[in-house]
Symmetry: C2
Subunit: 333 residues, 2 copies
Amino acid sequence: MKKRPTLADVAKAANVSLMTVSRAINSKPGVSEDLRQSILMLAEEMGYQPNQIARSLATHHTAAVGLIVPDNTNPFFAQIARGVEDTAYKEEFSIFLVNTVEDPIRERAALDSLSQKNVEGLILCSSRLPDDELEDRISHFPAAVLINRELKTPLSHAITINVNDQGGAKSAINYFINHGRNLIAYLDGPANSLSAKRRMEGYKAALQEAGISFDPQLVECCAPDTDGGRIAAAALLARRPDVNAIYAFNDLVAIGAVQIVEEIGKEVPGDIAVIGVDDTPLSTVIRPELTTLHVNLRYIGRLAMRTLMDTIEGGSSSTAIRIEPELVVRDSA
Amino acid sequence: MKKRPTLADVAKAANVSLMTVSRAINSKPGVSEDLRQSILMLAEEMGYQPNQIARSLATHHTAAVGLIVPDNTNPFFAQIARGVEDTAYKEEFSIFLVNTVEDPIRERAALDSLSQKNVEGLILCSSRLPDDELEDRISHFPAAVLINRELKTPLSHAITINVNDQGGAKSAINYFINHGRNLIAYLDGPANSLSAKRRMEGYKAALQEAGISFDPQLVECCAPDTDGGRIAAAALLARRPDVNAIYAFNDLVAIGAVQIVEEIGKEVPGDIAVIGVDDTPLSTVIRPELTTLHVNLRYIGRLAMRTLMDTIEGGSSSTAIRIEPELVVRDSA
DNA sequence: TTGTATGCGTTATCAA
DNA sequence: TTGATAACGCATACAA
């Protein structure tokens, strides 16, 4: 690897001062057009590339943000990351990607590392940190966007983006009810999941509004994957064979439920209707195609990055953004 | 956001010189144990965090690497990224993630940006740059790992990691042949895909070795997704209804093919056997479960990062690594 | 329009 | 064991 020339090298070669080269490179006023051009030519020729590290130290701007997700492999976060990266590219910002693997230790390490790297902003997804600590650590960043996490006390430089899980659940349950389903089960997600909690609220609320009393027997917790869905659906249907609708924590769980329903000789949606959440690419690949709650994750990512840029540049209007999921009716309900 | 104390601040508060604090923080010799402890306490108390930017400028070490992928949303690259991040975390390195969206312009921009940020290494997946340019640009990095891309002239600081696509294709075709299939079609990937080219080679080679002559009618190009698979399979089966085995470019294509086969009233694998590539999570979710070629992508990611670290730290043994795919027999063949 | 001095926060080098 | 000074590569502020 060849050693890169510095501003001083170019200056020497051009027989001008370091500063004129700097001005020429950065398109700043104070250099005659002729000189600028010839310097630019020379710099190009020498293969000069500005050293961002030095520049950052001098300007206190790193043009970098941190993106912390539980797992970049999860399509949910992969889509968000894609959106973030999309607008980061347009803004000429770089992004540091970190996985926490749902481990608070790793999340803390990530926050420390990013802070030390002087990122100008932070996008933190599904933080597992306790409220107090979270707020304290966020205050070490110039700006932050929290996805899938609420904040007790609003911070001026921190914006939250949350999906309206309650509302989504309600619209799914209402859809069931409007289509004549009256025994609606809920395959709930992991106990520590914020989304699971909120969807449960929506489930209960929708039932109550419809005058249907809540029956704990119709709820089953499960791991948020296909196997989890299979196990939970099997247990549920063994206990309550009369169920005629299932609201699943996510698409994978829904798919597991569909499999079990068909394996016990019933039909989807004829006998039992199923609605998932997330609208992953999967949902149009399997048969029957999955009816599910859609949120534009890529849009959320873009929105997060844009909002972050706004608050970095001096303040965004909003402080808590709520995304409304949309029921996409396909063949499973 | 509170202003962070600097080394000088801590030094002043501790009534010692800047350097003793630096030594204490960095666990370097030259400080009495008592002093070190008290300085560490004080630093902790003041909330001191080293400024990595300044440190990088002084040491020429950024503890950061760049990871360039076509699309982090593609499970293939998502898994690799996860592996990379896994070992980066262990090595206390940060990773810059960039998507190229298969756009050479964006790839060039990514390379420039990363180079200016002084990353210590680069992991570049499926580069679309011409050989000459690629080699030139790679030479601007201290170390590089190329995934899914070969290099004409071996570079000492650049390692390539490639999946043995030819071998994988051959093992799939051989499996078909050993199970009595004789009319084996290939749903090929996009024309510009290196993998597609290599799999085609393996397909032809396996046929030749088995004494079966290659029939262009049995090959159909398609977009690498389910719809592409559907369209291609429909065209193929309309043209050659006698086909009894299909080797698909990837799992999504395979799924599309399975759907079409079933829609025209035939059975998988009874009438037509199908083998995919990638072993995505999808393959165990759909029915019949997909027989497919498996490669441990996360392992590849880890390997890439580890190899990168090795060459950063002064040279790795290998220069071109080849990963052998493994046929996972499930229900579709 | 151009150039000089100074500082960003840290480490390396040499001196005490 | 400690400390002063000079880098690192660039930009800001001010002078010419």
